[in-house]
């Protein structure tokens, strides 16, 4: 009797094994580690990341000594082994060790601190938070402050008003409760209004999904569209490695399209088309196209013509457009403005029924740089209700994103307005940060362009410079001898000589045979001259050592 019951109920739970029989071949295929050893020369060039990704990994050879345990390197998910995330990879690990050692061993190094230019993490380098945002967050976190008269002496009037308004949007004013899985409705209303004001086209609060930063939103979309290696995503090269890592983790294929360094990292639709067709000829169904604007790591702001072309291309080819627009507030040149892809789609007359478009935004970037809050959202348009339901379900498994990140996402989309108590001080803080970033970008760019064999496009936006370094043959050979990618070799040398942490271009992908690194523009202004001096001196001695 019991046996029977177990068998019956089992059915409900393991039943998908049988229901999905017809998918088995496919899922088993994806199980086989496709190019487990990253140096397989016969890997299909189009889909093998190894060609443009870092080749410093030696994980295939290593294994845990304790192999009798159930979970070891030999038995974990091969997709986990395969994915790479250079922004926090090997060089950062070395930097952290150096930093530890510096504490006790100061005299052993030619520098007295590690300067992290590897990651867009402005507040870790001394950028201050926007006071108004933090006032509102503090009041929401500890709402009984709102009942104290002293609070009025410590907080701006509009922060108190805003905190009340937000608390009233939260059921029971409970900031400690799980919210709706898409995020608190009132906050989504505010965000939608902000998008509408930005684009001049309507935005629907039901299209907004608030997330713990933009990264989980990207993962969610990848998980939704990728079933196997036969599903591809068009990604710019160079790209932010979140995309390559996420595609690897979800078992899909990255289909590269190259940004053209010579035209300021612009793109050619003919190249996109060629890559798409090449992928299709290999049996890959390309599902989506990723575009990062302003660009990471490349810092360009796409030309309006380019944006229009991309929209039309996605529409014609039936691709989901995944628009990473997290740097929308970071623009440094007067001749460029930010325009969202949704704005272009709508102005071209493409509505909800014509194309699928997802726009990602984050509280971590812009002038606010609130990385530690993990706030962000995606605006999801042009999906049928049954697909939308699946996205909602995925969001609901994680219950909701953190509430203070949600509140902050609403604040960055509706900052103080003229006439508000905080407006003037807010504008001073905001413009101060943005103009300083522009200045730092310019100084670093000029310094880089002065180095022998280095060329660097201007940073029109975002937070990065991505200089190209022509490495002498001798340096390339030295790197090969150390089994390191040549640009990683350069970056390690740079770190050891100067304490400056940058990320090798191989972590982002680059045209084969070219070498780059990514450097943020975020160290505080007073540190920039010293960085320039150290970088210049290092580069000179590096070239002196390896010049052909």
């Amino acid at each position: 009797m019991r046996r029977f019951l177990i068998g019956q109920a089992r059915k409900g739970l393991v039943d998908h094994t049988t229901r999905r029989q017809h998918h088995q071949t496919r899922s088993f295929l994806s199980l086989l580690p496709p190019s487990f050893s990253t140096n397989s020369p016969r890997a299909a060039p189009l889909v093998s990341l190894s060609r443009f990704m870092s080749s410093t990994s030696d994980m295939a050879a290593s294994s845990d000594s304790t192999s009798s345990l159930p979970v070891t390197l030999d038995s974990i998910n091969p997709k986990v082994l395969k994915c790479e995330y250079a922004v926090r990879g090997e060089i950062v690990n070395i930097a952290q060790k150096l930093q530890e050692d510096l504490k006790s061993n100061k005299d052993a190094y030619p520098f007295d601190e590690i300067i992290y230019c590897n990651i867009g993490n402005p507040q870790s380098l001394g950028q201050l938070p926007i006071r108004f945002f933090r006032e509102v967050l503090a009041l929401c976190d500890h709402s009984s402050l709102l009942d104290e008269t002293e609070t009025h002496g410590l907080f701006s009037t509009d922060s108190i008003d805003r905190a009340w308004k937000i608390l009233d949007q939260i059921p029971g004013r409970a900031t400690g409760a799980y919210s709706h899985s898409q995020g608190i409705k009132g906050l989504r209303d505010t965000i939608a209004a902000g998008i509408e004001a930005r684009d001049g086209f309507p935005a629907d609060p039901n299209d907004i999904f608030l997330t713990d930063g933009a990264s989980p939103a990207v993962h969610m979309m990848m998980q939704l569209v990728l079933s196997s290696e036969k599903d591809g995503i068009l990604c710019p090269i160079p790209q932010y490695p979140l995309y390559s890592a996420s595609i690897t983790l979800h078992g899909g294929s990255l289909v590269p399209y190259y940004l053209d360094e010579a035209t300021g990292w612009g793109l050619e639709i003919s190249d996109l088309k060629k890559q798409l067709e090449e992928a299709r000829s290999k049996g890959i169904t390309v599902r989506a196209l990723v575009v990062i604007n302003p660009g990471n790591p490349t810092g360009q702001v796409l030309a309006e013509e380019n944006q229009r072309d991309i929209v039309n291309f996605c529409k014609q080819e039936g691709l989901v457009l995944l628009a990473d627009e997290v740097y929308q507030e970071n623009l440094y040149v007067p001749d460029k403005k930010f325009h969202s892809f949704k704005k272009f789609a709508r102005s071209l007359g493409y509505g909800e029924k014509d194309m699928s478009l997802v726009s990602f935004q984050s509280v971590s970037k812009g002038y606010y740089g609130e990385c530690g809050k993990r706030g962000g959202y995606m605006e999801v348009t042009g999906f049928t209700p049954d697909v939308r339901e699946q996205i909602y379900k995925m969001a609901s498994v994680n219950l909701c994103s953190n509430i203070s990140g949600q509140i902050l996402a609403s604040l960055v989309m509706s900052p103080p307005k003229p006439g508000d108590d905080s407006y003037d001080s807010y504008m001073v803080e905001r413009d101060g940060i943005l103009s300083s970033m522009a200045k730092r970008a310019k100084t670093l760019e000029e310094a880089l362009n002065n180095l022998e064999g280095v060329t660097c496009n201007r940073a029109e936006g975002a937070m990065y410079l991505f200089p190209r370094i022509s490495l002498p043959q001798k340096a390339i050979e030295a790197a090969e001898a150390e089994k390191t990618a040549p640009d990683a070799f350069y970056c390690k040398r740079l770190l050891n000589a100067t304490g400056v942490v940058v990320v090798p271009g191989s972590g982002f992908g680059q045209v084969p045979g070219t070498w780059h690194f990514r450097c943020t523009i975020l160290p505080q202004e007073d540190k920039i001259p010293a960085i320039v001096d150290r970088l210049t001196a290092f580069h000179k001695s590096f070239m002196d050592e390896f010049r052909d």
């Binding site: 177990i6 109920a9 409900g12 393991v14 998908h16 094994t17 899922s27 199980l31 845990d64 345990l69 979970v71 070891t72 390197l73 974990i76 998910n77 986990v80 082994l81 995330y85 990651i119 402005p122 507040q123 950028q127 933090r134 503090a138 976190d141 500890h142 402050l145 104290e148 002496g153 410590l154 409970a174 900031t175 400690g176 409760a177 799980y178 899985s181 998980q223 939704l224 569209v225 990728l226 890592a245 983790l249 169904t285 014609q316 989901v320 699928s356 609130e370 990385c371 530690g372 809050k373 993990r374 999906f383 049928t384 697909v387 699946q390 995925m394 498994v397 219950l399 994103s401 203070s404």
Partner: protein, 479 residues
């Protein structure tokens, strides 16, 4: 003429197969009714603050100060914040590099992980290594990270208790693995029989499944039982023999409502067992700020601690964590505060104790009121909620009700729960969302509605149940 970008058929099958009942049909219907102006009592999610539980004052003060560090420079700050909150805010800010606005180490702030390790050490009496503790955006994220590492494909199985918290079934589906159920014995107060486990593993293996890990939820969700030390020993021995990683969901460790079986961690039991087993069983335990008397669900704070996971594997888990950059920093500070609350002599100590004891004692009374209430209803039996936040009564549905459900195209317990919702506004989760034996029906409610509302809620439940049972005729019942 343009191609269709994305239609339902082309979506990842794993996504489509995933089910998450806690926010499923019942919840959506309840939200609709709420919009129409009906009063809804949300007992579907363990979300205490949503039902009126007030946050503990001290941690909120500390985090508010960390949010607005400029207040610390204001001479008037002492007028609205106690000195120990100010000191603690300074302490946590000193553990960050860049305050709440900077990404931390992807594993969480080293200083907070050290406080977590010290807490575990005090709790268990065994050392804990901060390097093996990762902070996460809630325990769910941690579970997903670990299962992602373990599951390679459909042939990898994870032993999960049934009834279970659907996070496990949903995540296993999303990752394309196979859930291997083991049944908790309702008549044995939801106890766990190791013979049963063995049978489940054997059956899975005969189907070509490699069983890789076992999940336990202690105290149980949705079942509310506390595992005994003897039971935990058996489980650990079983994992050792069968070479399974044990995933210990211990998020309800503060929520204990009886004195016979206090919470005991899997780690402590494992260490008590000594070598060689203490070195052979791989264990990952999960904790959160969302439960306990904290109930800070909206913060999304949690951690996991790894035992006997080899360093190279830990590195891989670190790598995957680094792709998400870092868990949110304010929740990390909540976690720090949870594992090192005010001490005797601190200014805020008395208030903190008063608040936390008040919440726990009330939960204990509510657990009693709820289970007694259910057991006084016709055709309803309910084990006592020994811990956690839920009651999981069995509803003996009459054949006529099952018939009516079928006609309505609903699973019988979904049918019952929908009727309950429409009649009383009580939003529950049907047992089928958690798994249950064939032909047996349950529902899950939290014990979280405010204590003063509890008698009224149980009365309206009873009234509904009486009417339901007479409408569908109480006759022959199978159990």
């Amino acid at each position: 003429m343009s191609l269709k970008a994305l239609d339902y058929d082309s979506l990842n099958e794993n996504v489509k197969n995933c089910q998450y009942a806690v926010r499923g049909e019942l919840y959506l219907r309840a939200s609709e009714l709420q919009k129409e102006g009906k009063k809804i009592i949300f007992t579907n999610v363990g979300n205490p603050h949503a039902l009126g539980q007030k946050p503990l004052t001290f941690p909120r003060q500390v985090v508010a100060l960390c949010q607005a560090p400029f207040l610390l420079d204001d001479p008037n700050v002492g007028m609205i914040f106690p000195a120990d909150a100010i000191a603690r805010a300074k302490h946590y800010l000193s553990l960050t590099s860049g305050g709440l606005g900077a990404y931390s180490d992807s594993r969480g702030l080293p200083g907070v992980r050290k406080e977590v390790a010290e807490f575990i050490e005090r709790r268990d009496g065994y050392p804990s290594d901060p390097e093996l503790i990762f902070l996460t955006d809630g325990a769910s994220k941690g579970v997903m990270q670990i299962l992602n590492c373990v599951i390679r494909g459909q042939k990898d199985g994870i032993l999960v208790p049934v009834p279970q918290y659907p996070l496990y079934s949903a995540t296993i589906s999303l990752l394309g693995g196979t859930l291997v159920p083991y049944y908790l014995e309702e008549s044995e107060n939801w106890g766990l029989d190791v013979n049963n486990l063995r049978q489940s593993v054997a059956q899975a293996r005969s189907q070509g499944i490699t069983v890789r890990a076992m999940v336990i939820i202690n105290p149980g969700n949705p079942t509310g039982q506390c595992l005994s030390e003897a039971n935990l020993r058996e489980i650990l021995r079983f994992c050792c023999n069968e070479r399974l990683v044990l995933l210990g969901d211990e998020v309800y460790q503060q929520n204990i409502y009886q004195d016979e079986r206090p919470f005991i961690s899997s780690k402590k039991v494992l260490m008590d067992m000594g070598a060689p087993i203490s070195k052979e069983v791989q264990l990952i335990s999960f904790h959160t700020v969302s439960k306990g008397y904290w109930g800070e669900c909206g913060q999304r704070g949690g951690y996991f601690e790894m035992t006997n996971i080899p360093p190279k594997t830990v590195e891989e888990i670190y790598k995957v964590a680094s792709i998400a950059l870092s868990p949110n920093v304010s929740a990390q500070i909540f976690m720090g505060l949870m594992v090192s609350p005010p001490k005797p002599g601190d200014i805020s100590y008395d208030q903190f104790v008063r608040e936390s004891k008040g919440i726990l004692e009330s939960l204990r009374r509510r657990a009693r009121m709820m289970t007694d209430g259910f057991n006084s209803c016709k055709n309803v039996v309910c084990n006592f909620t020994e811990g956690a936040m839920y009651s999981f009564p069995q509803i003996k549905l009459p054949p006529k009700a099952i018939q009516a459900a079928k006609q309505a195209g609903k699973v019988p317990d979904v049918f019952y729960c929908l009727k309950l919702l429409e009649a009383t506004g009580i939003s529950t989760v049907p047992g089928s969302g958690f798994g249950q034996k064939e032909g047996v029906f349950h529902l899950r409610t939290t014990i979280l509605p405010a204590e003063e509302e509890m008698p009224e809620i149980m009365d309206s439940f009873k009234k509904f149940n009486d009417e339901f049972m007479s409408q569908y005729g109480v006759g022959y019942s199978r159990m």
